[in-house]
């Protein structure tokens, strides 16, 4: 089922901003409020808007369930792999702090911050973000498909 032309146009206009904001919240999780879960929820709500506006059957042609499940599994594997990366000291040890990759340590106290800090935390944020994006999108997509199917049958 498709919504009216007004809703479709407005959601087309809004969608890039919503998705960009979600990605921004995920990538800046170690500097600003937010992180993987919150940014993923923002991104997935954008996808939910898309599904509501354009109808689940039109979305399903481009957004397949098994692609999203691959995305979710890769996010989980990346998260656990990063957790096992510090297993030499302790599980979930932040082994990248002080190294040339993402290891710059900011001065203590309040400061604007640098994206190139945080060790494994930004990477874990991205992993959890992928997981939440894929998970919540799959939930919304599958439920919308099921409800539209019963509508057609009735």
């Amino acid at each position: 089922m498709m919504m009216s032309k007004i809703v479709r146009t407005i959601s087309n206009l809004l969608l890039p901003f919503i998705l960009t904001y979600g990605i921004y919240v995920i990538l800046h999780g170690h500097l600003t409020p937010g992180g993987g879960f919150q940014g993923g929820a923002v991104f997935a709500s954008g996808i939910a808007l898309f599904i509501v506006a354009f109808g689940s059957y039109n979305i399903q042609k481009n957004l397949k369930e098994h692609h999203l499940s691959i995305l979710e599994s890769s996010g989980a594997l990346l998260f656990i792999g990063l957790a096992f990366g510090g297993i030499a000291i302790v599980f979930f040890y932040n082994f990248l702090v002080g190294s040339p990759i993402l290891g710059h340590i900011p001065p203590s106290g309040s400061n604007p911050g640098d994206i190139w800090t945080g060790g494994v935390i930004p990477l874990m944020s991205i992993a959890v973000g992928l997981k939440v994006i894929a998970g919540l999108s799959v939930i919304v997509l599958v439920m919308a498909l099921a409800s539209s199917k019963t509508e057609i049958e009735e």
Partner: protein
């Protein structure tokens, strides 16, 4: 008879709950060393300006792993509940 027994047990449970609520130690007491340690050392230990994220992904990373597992289980349940039946895919 059963109703009076149930009422007596309910009264005992309510009294115990109220007693526990009155005897519980006040909020924030005894003061914990953990929050001060994290506020002082999070930036130098994890290199993260957002201390909440450093707690979520570093100090309490195992907790986040459990949260991610809960999400995974929820998604698996929803997809299994709304899966296509065999005769529908054959159509």
């Amino acid at each position: 008879m059963r109703r009076t027994t149930a009422a007596i047990f309910l009264g005992i449970i309510i009294a115990l709950l109220i007693a526990t609520a009155l005897l519980i130690h006040p909020f924030g007491y005894p003061p914990s060393q953990m929050d001060d340690y994290i506020i002082e050392n999070a930036q130098s230990e994890t290199g993260t300006n957002n201390i909440v994220t450093s707690v979520v992904f570093d100090y309490r990373g195992f907790d986040t792993l459990g949260e991610a597992t809960i999400l995974f289980t929820a998604v698996t349940g929803v997809v299994m509940l709304f899966r296509k039946k065999k005769e529908e895919t054959a159509k």
